[in-house]
């Protein structure tokens, strides 16, 4: 299954950009022409031929495909066309920490908060105000995060001017590892993270509530109560532990899709992660960059699904056999 997904992903990646009418070399040339750096004519044809040879675009399509498949599986994603001679892997590695830092962090926060709230919402002995959160969560979970993000930017960055408008750190600062820079990064990450947490906490809460309702009807819970166990213990060790299992599956998938979910949030907030990279590569029809990023995105999902399958028996000992 894992292998099929990876090969299929690589193939899709190869085919789709090539269905496009434009070609990347032409796009680069057009840009050169616009800047007055090229005048067209014979010299230009030579440049095109030279570039096509360099990127292997002059070979028959099946040879291109085989070479592509082989290189992809070695994780050699080729050179970026717009930023030649930078390699695609290098660009990916540079953007990855931002995406992982921002999105994985906010996904984990909303998972923890959402699961806890969701469990409380189903718990009959929870304080009454908990149940009043249900409609609020429902409404928030239906709102796309980037739309909420725009509203948050307006309120906090434009009207109140307490948080920056976008970017991952203040322009002019050089990324380094000290407290000042870290605080700067956190200030910049606050709004995108908040918009993701607010809109996704409802998803986790509602999912958790659904499972929790089922778990609460189980016989072992009645037994635990009959034994006179303290409420807190029943809630955490009996009900929540069991209700969390299906949630963990969704968490792994959510973490896997973190990178692809990041496209919109990163574009809205000018955040220099993987999504931003993909968006710009698409704009400049940079084949290899697009292929590299999409392949990477699909790979992360496939890997996280695989990891769930592998660690699930550890979380739920009943599955072992």
């Amino acid at each position: 299954m894992f292998i099929i997904v990876v090969i299929l992903a690589a193939t899709l990646n190869f085919i789709i950009p090539r269905l496009a009418p434009g070609d990347p070399i032409g796009a680069v040339l057009e840009e050169l022409r616009a800047r007055g750096a090229s005048s067209g004519g014979d010299a230009e044809d030579e440049i095109v031929a030279a570039y096509r040879a360099r990127f292997g675009l002059d070979q028959p399509i099946h040879l291109q495909y085989l070479r592509f498949l082989f290189n992809t599986l070695r994780f050699d994603l080729g050179y970026s066309i717009s930023y030649y001679p930078q390699k695609v892997e290098a660009a990916l590695l540079r953007s990855l920490p931002w995406t992982v830092g921002l999105l994985a962090f906010s996904t984990l926060i909303s998972f923890a908060a959402g699961s806890f709230f969701g469990a409380m919402m189903a718990w009959p002995r929870a304080p009454g105000f908990m149940r009043r959160f249900v409609p609020m969560f429902m409404v928030l979970s239906a709102v796309p995060y980037y739309l909420l993000g725009l509203i948050l930017v307006y309120i906090f960055a434009f009207v109140m001017r307490i948080l920056p408008l976008g970017g991952a750190y203040s322009s002019g600062t050089v990324p380094r590892l000290d407290l000042e820079f870290l605080l700067d990064v956190m200030r910049h990450g606050a709004l995108p993270a908040l918009s993701i947490v607010l809109t996704s906490v409802g998803f986790w809460a509602l999912g958790m509530r659904g499972v929790m309702v089922t778990v609460l009807g189980e016989d072992y819970l009645t037994l635990a109560e009959a034994k006179g166990l303290p409420d807190r213990r029943i809630f955490f060790a009996y009900a929540m532990r069991n209700a969390l299992l299906p949630q963990v599956t969704s968490l792994a998938i959510a973490l896997g899709t973190v990178a692809s979910g990041s496209v919109l949030v990163e574009v809205v907030f000018n955040y220099p992660g993987i999504g931003w990279l993909l968006y710009n590569a698409l704009r400049s029809s940079d084949y290899y960059m697009v292929q590299g990023v999409t392949f990477f995105l699909i790979l992360t999902v496939a890997v996280s699904v695989l990891i769930v399958d592998l660690i699930y028996p550890l979380l739920d000992p009943r599955i072992e056999r």
């Binding site: 950009p17 429902m138 968006y279 697009v290």
Partner: protein, 289 residues
């Protein structure tokens, strides 16, 4: 088949009156529908074109929602854009669910090798992040229209319906009345259409609402990135232009806030309807909340 449908309809009707969710959701959605139906008679929709009115006007009696930097009346843009978004979602949802339901039906009913092929495809497609593929496809398509955007999105939204319906058909296939029908010599086609179809329709309807909402979400995402239809003004495109012209930091709130509010109303409405339908199909969810 007709009696079953009428019976189902009645049950759904009675259920509607008991839950406020469906009612509220329908009110939200029909208000948007009303806006796009009545709007063109009240507001001159030609002012949705660029350079047709003065630029950057704040809301006033003449322009209730102001105008943008491209010289469009924001209210007119909303009135023209909302039905486009609804239409895109409904087409994509219908195509996606029809495709998914047929595949799920075939896979679940016939089983065996066909089932294996269809299920593997579904699972593989489910692991591929749709937005990544959508972006690549959208960037490859030169001229995007509302219709071909709907089709592209539909091709990526059949997997969930296919999976839910396959599961349902698997259990329906073993029901005594299906066995009876088979013993009575009914053909596969008649069993599928007369015995199984009526029982998966509520589920298909529930997944239709979900698929529509997902399709609109994906479509708006593309439009906000500036990769949606270029000729017709859409809600997402308005947000894209507002972003491009930094309407946010220029304080032109009347430019980007109205499309966002319309979209939020739309998504909440769809969410409520789909939650209510899920409860109708799956009574276990009704217990709390």
């Amino acid at each position: 088949m007709i009696e079953t449908l009428i019976h189902r309809g009645k049950a759904a009707g009675i259920y509607t009156l008991r839950t406020p969710k469906l009612l509220l959701g329908l009110i939200l959605l029909s208000s948007l529908l009303l806006l796009s139906l009545v709007g063109p008679y009240v507001v001159d929709v030609d002012t949705a074109r660029p350079i047709s009115v003065a630029t950057n006007q704040p809301p006033s009696a003449k322009f209730p929602l102001g105008t943008d930097s491209g010289g469009r009346d924001v209210l007119a843009v909303i009135i023209v854009g909302t039905p486009q978004t609804l239409m895109m979602g409904v087409i994509a949802g219908l195509v996606g669910v029809t495709l998914g339901a047929s595949l799920g039906l075939v896979a679940g009913y016939f089983g065996g090798r066909i089932d294996m092929v269809i299920s593997t495809c579904t699972d593989v497609m489910l692991t591929i992040p749709p937005l990544a593929i959508l972006l690549v496809v959208a960037a490859s398509v030169r001229t995007m229209s509302v219709l071909n955007m709907a089709i592209i999105i539909a091709l990526l939204s059949w997997m969930f319906p296919a999976r839910t319906i396959r599961a349902q058909v698997l259990s329906l296939r073993e029901q005594p009345y299906v066995h009876m029908a088979r013993l009575a010599g009914l053909s596969d086609i008649r069993i599928i259409f007369e015995e199984i179809m009526p029982n998966i329709l509520p589920l298909a309807a529930a997944s239709f609402v979900g698929a529509t909402s997902g399709a609109i979400l994906a479509g708006i995402g593309l439009e906000v990135l500036g990769m949606g239809p270029q000729r017709t003004p859409t809600l997402g495109m308005t947000i894209y232009w507002a972003q491009l012209y930094s309407a946010l930091i220029r304080g032109l709130w009347w430019w980007w806030l109205p499309p966002i509010i319309v979209l939020i109303v739309l998504f909440v409405g769809l969410f409520l309807v789909s939650a209510a339908m899920d409860e109708f199909v799956n009574p276990r969810l009704r217990r709390t909340g």
